[in-house]
Symmetry: none
Subunit: 206 residues, 4 copies
DNA sequence: AATGAATGAGTTTTCATTCAT
DNA sequence: GATGAATGAAAACTCATTCAT
């Protein structure tokens, strides 16, 4: 796979896995509070439960931590969405997917926030990789929308498919980004309902 | 007004104005390239056309620069939107407002990008101020939508008004955020048309 | 000139000159005691009489300090040797040159020691530059010897000229290197006398 | 003997011998490339063919490795020179010794280079020991020269004996130090011939 | 008002050494 | 005896901020 690798000087793969999980958990917590730049590597180590020396046994640079965080988020997203039943162009299937996606963001909104605010700090190649993942996300919804268009369940032009897919993805992110404004007035269920209503009202053939 | 002040040791108000304009222009360019944290005060001074010493005659801390940038963006947004003719609950008026807003974002997408990616680095009070400005933006569209609801031009529940206003604001930001994906396929005109179509199709009373 | 430049963020050339002199003096003293690698940049700064921040206003990396030290030594050597009256192939002239050179090394033996023990730590390009300077030194004596050979004052084959020149240069360095052994038994004057005697006894035509 | 000991936590003397040989071989190679300070203990272990943990079973500190390298070089030098037939004050015998010594340096010039460039990094007591070895080297040639003086084969004053002995030793080292300059023009045989010619021309009674 | 040299706390990163397995 | 993960002191270098000129 063309997965970007983060070099570690530790050999035991299981240990790497374990330590990196600790690291990601600690880092997300920290980045959420103070952002990537304001968090020091020493703080990351501490939040992860080990020493600064140990931290550097599992990464090469501070940016690697950010990459690992972003990568793990996308992996979780991918895992949870690919567990969906295959869709055959039904609006219902699309709705299930959107539902899953929005709930996922609600569950992981800290992680999402971190990723979206900090990913620009990734080195070039890592940024590329993250953008690719994001495009896959959009593509997933495009294909679902497309299937619905083909099956006739949605009246939607090709032009609209792209934007609608972005729309779905961005509205999801909005729930994470605008927590401070939205959580006061709506539950995630409200939000999903209103969003899908609005989306479909325009798209469903009368 | 409770406008947050940035202290300057220079007395001449005109000079302050002039130097800060230089500063904002330089800073936006720089932040766009490397982000707020990676840009040094020396670089900001250089990009602004004066020395580091002079820079500090017009601000107190580096964060002041970021605040000035964010503040100036909102001021421009405010100026351009408040120039609109007063609306009396017509869809057409709403459409004009959206149009203005989206074009504004298109014109200033660099600035918007910078503001959204970096505003979390503002000190507490400045962040508060910026969020307040953002809420005003949402409120503007809320009032426009509300007027339309009251006049009967839009079938829209009170619950929907809040989310629709956020929706409009976020879709505008999306044009700036997702330039890399959207500019390939759409012009700003396409984008506005598709967005407003989608928005209104669901909302306009039959 | 193809002199390798060390970048400074300070603009005032006179100040650069002055600060670098302080730096070289401090660094030589320190390197003599503990060597280049064991001397920390903080110690170098302190020994130079300024703060670590100021040190880095005048250099880019620690290796720059070493380069400046080596460069300044060669410049002094060059200055002192090029002040010699032009030689026209007399043994006497050669003797004056050797005399000068050996005294020079005696005066600067600390600096020489540092340079020879640490120059391998220079980055590639700087090492190149230093070796070039060293070759010039050898070449100087080669040309003096050559002139003596041509004028008939010395019976010396072309093959011998190169080695004899190296010999002179190395014997000079030996005085610095082996201080611990030689200074007990000889003064610099003794040393010069014995060395030149030995050199010439073989070379002077009967 | 007052041989400085390097403590090992391993009991088996044969194993110690074997592992240290591996270590010296690996270390010389590494030090040649990057110098003592730039070589890490991990790299030394790797170059020696075992783990960092094992390395520390056979030494106490990194400096021990350097000491072992220097010590082994001198032992080899000692072994090869003490194999010479006992001299009875003949110039021929002296010449054989010089020949042996120079060839030895030619064979081991990497090791010599490493030793001379890095020995200053030895801890005090180890440095002392190495210098003592070096003095023995000089003393060897002093006694050979002395014998020749006594037997009348060389016209050489007591004053000259010390310097001439140093001279021989240093000229040998010069062949290692100045490889980059000398190897282009001379073979080791040329070099020995020219050096001894020059040495003896002055010293041999006509 | 403008300049830019000076400062030093704070940052990332390295690496010799230890010690449980 | 061998391994390699863990440690943290110490290193090089940065940069926001100050202040004398």
């Amino acid at each position: 796979m063309n997965k970007r690798e983060v070099k570690s000087s530790v050999k035991d793969e299981n240990l790497i896995e374990k330590r990196r999980e600790q690291m990601i958990r600690g880092a997300v917590k920290l980045f959420k509070e103070k952002g990537f730049h304001r968090a020091t590597t020493r703080e990351i180590a501490k939040a992860s439960g080990f020493s600064i020396g140990t931290l550097y046994e599992y990464i090469r640079t501070k940016e690697d931590v950010l990459y690992l965080v972003c990568d793990s988020i996308y992996n979780e997203v991918h895992d949870r969405l690919s567990a969906l039943p295959t869709q055959e162009g039904t609006v219902e299937g699309l709705q299930v997917a959107i539902n899953q996606y929005y709930h996922l963001i609600d569950d992981m909104s800290d992680e999402f926030l971190v990723m979206y605010q900090e990913s620009k700090s990734l080195p070039k190649d890592a940024l590329q990789y993250v953008l690719k993942k994001e495009m896959e996300m959009v593509a997933l919804f495009e294909s679902l929308l497309d299937a619905c268009a083909k099956s006739g369940e949605l009246r939607i032009s090709t032009e609209q498919v792209g934007i609608a897919a972005h729309h779905i993805v961005v509205q999801g992110q909005m729930w994470a980004f605008r927590r401070w404004a939205l959580h006061k007035s709506y539950t995630i269920e409200d939000y999903i309902r209103v969003q899908t209503d609005q989306l479909f009202r325009g798209l469903i053939g009368k």
